[in-house]
């Protein structure tokens, strides 16, 4: 019997996602995070109004994965591009998708000022503690002692600086905002991350403020760990430094 009579679809690819295969490494969190963003856009009816802004890094080609209008931006400049675009197209739902090198290294100026202006944009900030695409160099978010190709004996903060906690920092400058940190290392946290991403889109759609979710992510290739061990590391090493939670909520959450 190959008829689908009497069956109903309970799970499928979101319409905000193309059917092109993902280019990411096995065990990379980008796949999960992309899906959460696409599901939220569909559920909020935002997909047809959305304009996503890509950044440099492994997710540079995610314009191929999201089935909405997309604009490519230079490394770190997403928040500035989003500012110009949203001011011209205030009815569009403008979001950036940025890694930690993009947002916390080269783009630090742009994100701080976009947050301080409370730009009505949504920022998906993927923190995996390394520069993934270029082969595993130290990022501003690399944890103390973590070994990278830049500093093979491990991060010495007295030499190369202390890791940046962007969600906390930005909450200090953005009086109209929703800023949270989530993780996707297990089912419970993935569902909570989706809720946070939903709030970050809603705060824009309701013209209430700036939305940002920092999502802790894995990088099996550059952490040199298998995917399951990566999830364990998020729990044991990453979350103690980057606590989950909401750092700014200046509107009514749904």
């Amino acid at each position: 019997m190959n008829s689908t009579e009497g069956m109903k679809v309970v799970f499928k690819r979101p319409s905000a996602m193309t059917d092109l295969p993902f280019p990411y490494c096995p065990g990379c969190s980008h796949g999960t995070i992309h899906r959460l963003v696409a599901e939220v856009m569909d559920e909020l009816g935002a997909t047809n109004k959305a304009i996503g802004i890509t950044s440099a890094g492994c997710s540079v080609r995610n314009w191929r994965q999201f089935d909405c209008d997309m604009v490519m931006a230079l490394h770190g400049r997403g928040p500035a591009v989003a500012t110009g675009l949203k001011r011209v197209r205030p009815d569009a739902v403008v979001f950036t998708y940025q890694g930690d090198g993009d947002l916390a290294a080269i783009g630090t100026g742009e994100i701080v000022h976009a947050a301080s202006r409370c730009e009505r944009i949504t920022v998906i900030y993927v923190n995996n503690g390394v520069f993934g695409a270029t082969g595993g160099q130290q990022a501003p978010t690399t944890i103390i002692g973590q070994k990278t190709t830049s500093y093979p004996s491990g991060r010495d903060p007295e030499f190369s600086g202390y890791p940046l906690k962007m969600a906390e920092m930005l909450s200090l400058v953005s009086p109209r905002s929703y800023i949270a940190r989530s993780s996707v290392h297990d089912v419970k946290n993935t569902l909570a991350a989706k809720k946070a991403i939903r709030e970050a889109f809603l705060v824009q759609i309701r013209d209430e403020g700036f939305g940002l979710v920092e999502v802790l992510a894995t990088c099996p290739t550059n952490w040199r760990l298998d995917p399951v061990s990566c999830m364990e590391r998020i729990k044991s090493e990453v979350i103690p430094y980057y606590p989950l939670g909401t750092f700014s909520r200046t509107h009514k959450e749904t």
């Binding site: 230079l74 500035a80 011209v88 100026g109």
Partner: protein, 353 residues
């Protein structure tokens, strides 16, 4: 009907030209000597329902322009040398993504931090694109307040036509001087609808504004298309002004504010019987090579006058090759020519064997 002229500072004439052409978005950062343009837009844009937003740097400003342009706006930014350098990534990405934008550079003395005196030392940076990769910006070099107004207006039309950034290369002298400007000579324009712009896909297939394609082969194709586009611009957009060059054996080549000062010297020399003319490039890219080449073989000597250490002279050399003598006079760092000084150089060159 007598057209009413408005006494305007050069920097303000640029702003009014932009607004007349339908520009409704300015994103930028303060820097001397363009602050009058900045403040003019801050005042005028809200009056016409537009948006003025100060950016936290020129780097951020040019990226805001990128965003606004991708949404279909007529938008601009402006700066001087140090900020212009910061915009380098913006020029190459606007050109790559084929986005229209107008960028004004009110040059000051350099290099490095420089000072706020006038110079023409950003010619090379502007005419060679300002950033990495194979692309060009169209560059216009106004010489008076009326041209600052009209060429800025035309810049928006050119930017949309070629889907490319266009630079207005001004300088501190032009920016500060006050002259009457005829505003009414140009009709008011609205922002045209741009089918390629992003606005949310609605019921249509989605659009992607790309900085680069997905494959190596496509990128070579992109570069070929850009090459063709710039060849078209070279064929169609050369502009210049030529005075007394038909009868001349010595021609002074000068752009922008230097062109103005050179005029006085050329007139004085002609009164003394020296067969000298003035060739004033108005498009700096594409350089008006066709018209300049037509002066050969009659013109034997070119005096390239520019307030820098020798930048436009490279384009004169490329055009003239060995067919005439080409001499540079000028220096960067804030030197302002006097007509007498230039007259002296004309005489010297005319007498040189």
């Amino acid at each position: 009907m007598m057209s009413e002229k408005v006494l305007m500072r050069g920097n303000e004439a640029v702003g009014e030209g932009a607004i007349r052409a339908g520009c409704r978005y300015f994103f930028g950062y303060p820097i001397t000597p363009q602050n009058e343009l900045f403040e003019y837009m801050a005042r005028r844009l809200p009056e016409v329902g537009g948006l003025f937003l100060q950016s936290e740097s020129e780097l951020s400003g040019i990226n805001m322009v990128f965003g606004a342009a991708s949404g279909g706006a007529r938008c601009m930014t402006s700066s001087s040398g140090p900020g212009f350098t910061l915009m380098g990534e913006g020029f190459t990405s606007l050109a790559a993504a084929q986005l229209p934008a107008v960028v004004v550079c009110v040059s000051r003395s350099g290099p490095g931090l420089g000072r706020i005196s006038s110079a023409q030392s950003d010619y090379r940076l502007a005419t060679r694109g300002g950033g990495h990769g194979d692309y060009q910006c169209l560059v216009l070099g106004p010489g008076n307040a009326q041209e600052l107004y009209e060429l800025t207006y035309q810049a928006f039309e050119l930017a949309d036509h070629y889907r490319n950034p266009v630079i207005i290369l001004s300088d501190a002298i032009l920016g500060q001087m006050m002259e009457p400007v005829d505003i009414e000579v140009l009709p008011e324009l609205d922002t045209p609808r741009k089918e390629w712009a992003v606005r949310g896909k609605g019921e249509n297939p989605r659009k992607v504004i790309k900085l680069a394609p997905y494959t190596d082969e496509e990128l070579i194709d992109w570069n070929l298309k850009l090459k063709e586009k710039y060849q078209q611009a070279k064929d169609k957009e050369q502009r210049h002004e030529a005075l007394y060059t038909d009868e001349a054996s010595v021609v002074v080549v000068a752009f922008g504010s230097t062109g103005r000062i050179a005029m006085d010297a050329v007139m004085k020399a002609r009164q003394e019987g020296i067969p000298v003319g003035l060739f004033r490039p108005i498009s700096l890219w594409p350089f008006p090579e066709k018209a300049l080449r037509e002066l050969l073989p009659g013109v034997k000597k070119f005096l390239v006058l520019e307030a820098n250490n020798g930048q436009m002279i490279e384009d004169v050399h490329l055009t003239v090759c060995d067919h005439a003598q080409v001499v540079h006079y000028g220096v960067g760092g804030g030197h302002i020519f006097t007509p007498n000084e230039i007259y002296g150089e004309i005489v010297k060159l005319e007498q040189m064997k």
